[in-house]
């Protein structure tokens, strides 16, 4: 039985994430919990870290809840499947440059910097639906693409809303990209860790399929 924990650290659209996970849950899911307790982190099988707001504000929220140590233990040592969404992904970086320079969790090598729109007068935030390009066919992606009955001629888009981009170092960890002015890191992955810049909980059928693929991951 899977137990999904959505981390509540005082930021973000927790309810949207909860609603979407609930929608795609099957009998195999015994509970979906929204919590910030270390005890729940230890008991759960899957972890979702939502994130809306500024990089440092979100990190501070995690610290205030005294969750960092326990989170590192269950994700990095116990290897529980982890999904960070939007700023929940950005916080995994080495450094973030939103409203100053801040250290991130450094689980995935890279920096979070303001989107460069180049010479085009593109609007910031990058807000709305954008096409996804699947760069690496990981096991997760294969399962996801099967679920959405993907074929090459089909466009797949997801909902983004952000002003900063995760420039990750290791290209192998960049799984999905999008394009806005330049390349946008849409999904990263390393071992049991997944991060998405887009909001699966707001990306309609594709997003629901994404969350379902995640919660069906085996421990």
């Amino acid at each position: 039985m899977n137990r999904i924990l959505i981390i509540d650290y005082g930021s973000g659209n927790i309810r949207s994430v909860y609603n979407a996970v609930k929608k795609v849950s099957s009998k195999k899911i015994s509970e979906i919990k929204v919590s910030s307790s270390a005890n729940d982190l230890k008991k759960c099988t899957h972890i979702i870290l939502p994130g809306v707001g500024a990089f440092e504000f979100c990190l501070r929220g995690l610290k205030r809840k005294k969750l960092l140590g326990c989170l590192e233990e269950v994700v990095l040592d116990n290897k529980k499947p982890f999904l960070g969404i939007c700023v929940g992904m950005q916080m995994l970086a080495t450094k973030g440059y939103e409203n100053g320079e801040f250290s991130g969790l450094n689980w995935i090598n890279g920096e979070v910097r303001k989107i460069k729109t180049g010479k085009q007068k593109l609007k910031i935030p990058h807000m709305g639906w954008n096409n996804l390009h699947f760069k690496r066919k990981t096991k997760f992606i294969k399962q996801l693409l099967r679920k959405i009955e993907f074929d090459k001629n089909k466009e797949v888009s997801a909902y983004f809303v952000h002003s900063y981009n995760f420039n990750n170092k290791n290209q192998n960890e960049k799984i999905i990209t999008s394009n806005y002015g330049g390349e946008i890191t849409a999904m990263i992955s390393k071992d049991n860790i997944i991060g998405t810049q887009f909001h699966p909980e707001k990306s309609h059928y594709f997003g629901l399929a994404f969350l379902q693929t995640f919660i069906e991951q085996k421990d």
Binding site: G128, N130, S157, V161, F206
Partner: protein
């Protein structure tokens, strides 16, 4: 490329959908949760609720509408109307809104834009501008179009951006409900003046109007209410039309 968003708007009064012409003469148009669910299935890229006669006592039905909609619609939800302060914004967000749109409160207390965007992120804060033409410029109106503030709409849009607004929802009061197309001049001027997305609203009557709002108005998103409510045009019609005119729209999820 980033796609143009098609946004159906539901004007809600005491838990029911209503729609007026030039901000008055309302008629009943159904259950908001049911409508929102249909729209999201048809391919709406976002859904906007405007609580048009919100007073504090009437907030409960709106919160209930947001809560129920968020359980069924997995696209972004924007909610506006009657927001006075941070706690009002928090209430909407906790109910399941992704963005809140503020109008009168932002004019009366511009610092609310700053305070709320710092707290919730600027992507969350939409400043709604109801604008009415005054010979060569447009004035901002508040209190549901009842009060002329004398503030210039373009200057106000810029100020809202500098205070931390993540988006402008621009409604032409002259065009609202008339089905004679967006106020393209106003839309183009505001879009050019700010670097945040502008949602064009007020006046859509046919498919060409959507195209013009994007191409001529420079809007990042187009919003309409009555043409969708009364099924004169479906969201799918709009998307098929725009696609045929080489405008990038989301068609993959439906």
């Amino acid at each position: 490329m980033l796609k143009v968003r098609i946004i159906p708007c539901l004007d809600v009064d005491n838990g029911r959908v209503v729609k007026g012409i030039n901000f008055i003469s309302l008629r009943d148009a159904g259950d908001p949760v049911e409508q929102a669910t249909i729209y999201s299935r048809e391919g709406a890229d976002e859904i906007t609720f405007l609580d048009i006669t919100a007073t504090h006592q009437k907030r409960k039905p709106m919160l209930e509408v947001i809560k129920k909609t968020a359980e069924q619609c997995f696209v972004p939800l924007t909610v506006g109307g009657g927001i006075q302060n941070i706690s009002g914004i928090t209430e909407f967000l906790l109910a399941g809104a992704d963005k809140v749109s503020m109008n009168s409160a932002a004019i009366k207390n511009p610092n609310l834009i700053k305070e709320s965007s710092n707290k919730f992120g600027n992507q969350c804060i939409v400043v709604a501008i109801d604008a009415k033409k005054k010979s060569k410029s447009w004035n901002v109106y508040i209190n549901g179009g009842r009060v002329d503030t004398g503030v210039d709409a373009i200057a106000w849009a810029k100020k809202a951006e500098s205070l931390g607004a993540g988006e402008i929802l621009l409604t032409s009061m002259d065009k609202d409900g008339t089905k004679s197309g967006f106020d393209l001049e106003l839309t183009a001027k505001v879009s050019a003046a700010v670097s945040i997305p502008v949602v064009a609203s007020g006046g859509v009557g046919n498919l060409q109007d959507f195209f013009d709002g994007i191409k001529i108005g420079g809007a990042s998103a187009v919003l309409a209410a009555s043409v969708f409510h009364f099924k004169e045009i479906t969201i799918r019609d709009v998307k098929n039309y725009l696609k045929s005119k080489n405008i990038d729209v989301r068609t993959d999820n439906f």
